[in-house]
Symmetry: C2
Subunit: 321 residues, 2 copies
């Protein structure tokens, strides 16, 4: 008989579907909103508001993440963060995550366990539980995450409510993930604070419900880039937005990295995606909550301008193009 291989060398095929489910759910603690967790046909999650906010995202190895750039835990955290940020961007309190995981049979079980551990960690940061999922065989590693949230009595903050005269504000990091990607793309691994931003977005989850309570008129998660995502608010609200560069905070560390790479840190701030900051419009300057930074105003017309002019570089990106 062959000796049993060390646990880290097990593949998902060797551990099996049910064994893997046991491994990734054992010993986890659920928040009070998880009324029935994994293990039945479906989960049951508290929705005390009487409305549930829900969003889904799909991440594909080689497209959205690379396991030679990020650990499985980092991939799991990022997969959770992108969804939880979408829920927070409606003004909701995140309550639950579900994970769909498709991977090749020879995937090390440790990879799946790491991804799942990362999901649990990020869910805990946002106050949510991991309540269910599905694990199947596939030639490509694909992670699908669905996040739920509760409005806690506030109205959902859509992209369509911005009014002329509103102030535009952001909460969370801008340009860091783009800077980190530029560093990694040149084969460097430091500075770790910038590289880490690309691997581990830190969406300001609590700022979503904070903005809803403060009377935000429109809100969006900055996933494709500030100009691209504010463009969605402009289009859906039928207004224009002007960003003032003197209000844009460009962190000294980003300036340093950009200088070393011959890149433009302000371009990262205006167009870099994946930091999952929140951008919102508020009816007056006094309504902007603590921790948010005012960056511009809502004006008549359409589109997004920078200091009153069109921005010359291509904003955001689309899949498949």
């Amino acid at each position: 008989m062959r000796p049993e291989p060390p646990r880290n060398a097990d593949t998902v095929a060797e551990v099996g579907e049910f064994g893997l489910i046991r491994r990734v759910t054992a010993g986890r603690t659920q928040p009070p909103t998880t009324l029935l967790g994994p293990g039945d046909d479906a989960a049951v999650v508290a929705a005390p508001d009487g409305r549930v906010v829900v969003s889904t995202d799909v991440l594909v190895e080689g497209v959205h993440f690379r396991l030679d750039w990020s650990s499985p835990e980092q991939v799991g955290r990022k997969a959770a963060a992108v969804n939880l940020a979408d829920v927070a961007a409606m003004g909701a309190l995140p309550t639950a995550l579900l994970i769909g995981l498709a991977c090749p049979p020879d995937t090390p079980s440790a990879v799946v366990e790491g991804i799942t551990a990362g999901l649990w960690q990020e869910a805990a940061v946002a106050g949510a539980g991991v309540v269910g999922g599905d694990m199947v065989s596939s030639a490509t590693l694909v992670i699908s995450v669905t996040a739920l949230g509760d409005m806690n009595g506030y109205e959902p903050i859509t992209r369509s409510g911005a009014q002329v005269g509103d102030v535009v504000a952001v909460c969370g990091r801008l340009g860091w993930a783009a800077g980190g990607l530029a560093v990694l793309g040149r084969g460097f691994r430091s500075p770790v604070a910038v590289v880490g931003a690309q691997r581990n977005p830190e969406p300001p989850y609590a700022a979503g419900p904070q903005a809803a309570a403060a009377g935000a008129t429109a809100m969006i998660d900055v996933s494709d880039g500030l100009l691209a995502d504010l463009g969605h608010i402009a289009e859906e609200s039928g207004i224009g937005i002007d960003i003032r560069t003197e209000l844009l905070e460009v962190h000294p560390r980003l300036l340093d990295v950009a200088s070393a790479l011959g890149a433009d840190a302000r371009h990262w701030v205006l167009t870099g995606g994946e930091d999952h900051a929140l951008a919102a419009t508020f009816p007056e300057p006094a309504a902007v909550p603590d921790g948010w930074r005012t960056i511009g105003t809502v004006r008549h017309g359409g589109g997004v301008t920078v200091d009153g002019r069109g921005y010359e570089k291509p904003p955001g990106w689309e899949h498949w193009r």
Copy 2:
């Protein structure tokens, strides 16, 4: 300039992410439970019970479906059905679906449009809306579906509540999908009623809330096979279940097909998955609702027996094994 190709020849790369989202959402009608549909950071769905039931499943081309056996619409309907059945198996009324779709850039747009049309069709059968999703690039076609439901004031029916003395009943088809798979596996395309069952499961969605209202003590969606899935109820409830073959309905058409293929129709009924019937336990014979068929009883001990004996053929299957 090249003439624009006919719409059906467009690939997803040519149509682009946002163009595709427009195509698959245009002209759709949402049920009243959809408070905010696709197009924002997240959707908002009514959860009047104050609890939301949620389940996710992942389907992979070549593993869970084949586009040479099923049309894109049939694949979409099936992807929706497996999830909606999980929600119904808790006793909930399905309210909403979200779809995550990962596919190669050269996938014809018509395939994605067909899958999405199928999802909408099946959601409508169950009374649900398609409220959101994500579409990304991947080497493998992967469909991830999440379904939500509302308990309407009833308690969720888990797998763990069966009591000794309860009666076991089923609603919906058993063995049909297994028969259809056997037919397709031999290269035949008929009889269409049996082949169609493999392509288009018809879960009895309304039977889930019906069972909850009737006081069902445990319930499960028959996705892996009757014996395997009743085994989950037996294990979670700490009881045993005995199936009586004289109570098992084997449809004459299944008997005909099995005879022609030299197969055992009763084996399909006992072990065939993918029909997504519902199986439940009820406290007394009088509690079994109209449309449900009593097939056995809950007894002391553990496991599932057939006429008091262990069943000799392997029940169900696991992924990756």
